[in-house]
Symmetry: C2
Subunit: 322 residues, 2 copies
């Protein structure tokens, strides 16, 4: 592919399902290429078809194996599947042990599957924006299902998972303290819980703990089911897919509308946030005003909030930048 | 304490080391109270005395136990110690098992120790800002050392730990895949690595892995030492304290100046970011323009980037808000 495709040319090829074009479009999204807004404008009317499912959990919980297993079931149903890995330790990101990669090999060679990993570094707030854009590219390219895998700790990752229509939280036996972290961070984003590696001791205890958590916590009309699985063997994966289908049906109701709306809102906010941050760092490069404030705050002749206030004024007068 | 202290009155009491005043000042920081900027302006010239140390690691690594052990050593040296827990699963946040809390009890009853946990929810980008403000309050109140404990996964948490002068990454044997996550997220923020629970099998392997990581990775003139500890028994904690002192000495050199400057820069940026986000959500409440764009994007008559662009213009014309 020549390096000088216009947004219109690239959009045409993305919609035509050309893999190199899709890869390049996602790279534009990731690198905040100035041509990406125009590309998105052209692609966006073609989106809204794909089913977007998020999978999250601690490293080692088996998210990638589960993602692979779900992808295989979707393929067996004749669906085209996109996989977006937002996790540096995922085998889809090339970060895992050889055995995992071998297990995934059939997915890599299947033309109905497109796998893409997102760089998790160098974004601040921009990770969820870039991931959402990647999902839109895949959606416009005609993929029926998009599976987004993310390591689920930290607010950035929670933001990523909130972009999905349905979110799966993958747990394992023997997590202990992690349940606390999940309580705090992922409770309200989980649509389905899966206790993976359920052939290990303690799986039932984790199920019980999650059920207790759900009883104590608040949830709307949708009560997240708690399943058991051994993703490595495929056990429990059809049941997970069935629950995800049940959740999809649920989202067709009035509850789903609110969620769709809040996903769009978060999406817009994430773009605004990233743009503002980019302008803020540009300020430092151009007139050095950030540097001057840094020196003043370091010398304690100015406090950090006063410095921020001055920079906000500069940002506001900065006007529009492309 | 009456509910209507002015910033000047509260500042005086914070500088006087009054615990309820310190607690209230931190609450003002957390809740973005409109009086906090004035309070910070008054307190900021009194800061710069405290030594700020960050501790991070996965849930269950023993960060809190290590934090408690470091606090005890500092107390034995006659130092006043502030502990800021940015981790919902920390016993300092009340989120842990009874045994932990009992082990921490002496710290709670020691008048030379002030423990404060920060809510990790409801901030987006504001967590590091609020934590930095809390550290300043403790600094102005005359605490000699401030220990910041955070669960170290996710960019928000990494931002928190970057605020510290010196950062300790706490690892444990049997982490396996977690090493990958650490590679990706915490490598360049770690000043000291500690393999805690070193009485378990596999501690030496973790030490070797980290040393290999350090050999492959980039680091400046400071090479992070890799220690072993059993924080529960106090083993290895004096050695950690000695390394932290060595790092403090290192920071007095030219390298330290760059780090101080970059801490201040991040601090200012985090305030700007939070302010802009607050204004963005206010936009939705006032003229409903965010809602209108959400509906247009949902209906696919507008794409998310065009909506963000329109909102950015509205933000810029919004002018200064207090």
């Amino acid at each position: 592919m020549p390096p000088d495709y216009s947004p219109a040319q690239l959009a045409e090829r993305v919609v035509g399902g050309k893999t190199p074009a899709i890869a390049r479009a996602i790279s534009w999204a990731e690198s905040v290429d100035p041509r990406f807004p125009e590309l998105l404008r052209l692609l966006y009317p073609r989106t809204g078809h794909a089913r977007v499912i998020g999978l999250t959990g601690a490293p080692g919980a088996g998210k990638s194996t589960m993602t692979g297993a779900l992808a295989r079931l979707a393929r067996a149903d004749g669906k085209r599947v996109g996989i977006v890995a937002v996790d540096p330790s995922s085998p889809f990101s090339g970060g895992a042990i050889l055995g995992d990669r071998i297990r995934m090999q059939e997915l890599y060679t299947d033309p109905g599957v497109l796998i893409r990993s997102m760089a998790t570094r160098g974004h601040l707030g921009g990770l969820s924006r870039a991931t959402a854009d990647a999902v839109d590219v895949l959606d416009a390219a005609g993929f029926d299902e998009v599976l987004v895998e993310t390591v689920g700790v930290g607010q950035d990752e929670v933001e990523v998972i909130r972009l999905a229509e349905s979110s799966v939280v993958v747990l394992t036996p023997g997590m202990g303290d992690d349940i606390q972290a999940i309580k705090a961070g992922l409770m309200e984003v989980a649509d389905v819980f899966v206790v993976n590696k359920a052939d290990r001791d303690g799986a039932d205890r984790v199920v019980t703990e999650v059920l207790q958590m759900l009883e104590l916590g608040e949830h709307g009309p949708w009560v997240p089911p708690v399943l058991k699985s051994v993703a490595r063997l495929g056990t429990g994966v059809p049941e997970l897919r069935a629950e995800l289908e049940r959740h999809r049906q649920f989202l067709l109701g009035p509850e789903g509308e609110g969620r769709r709306r809040s996903r769009v809102r978060r999406r817009i906010e994430s773009i605004v946030r990233e743009r503002l941050l980019a302008e803020l760092s540009a300020l430092s490069g151009t007139d050095g005003s950030l540097d001057a404030h840094v020196a003043a705050v370091e010398g304690r002749t100015e406090d950090p909030m006063a410095a921020a206030e001055a920079l906000l004024s500069a940002l506001r007068s900065g006007g529009r930048k492309e």
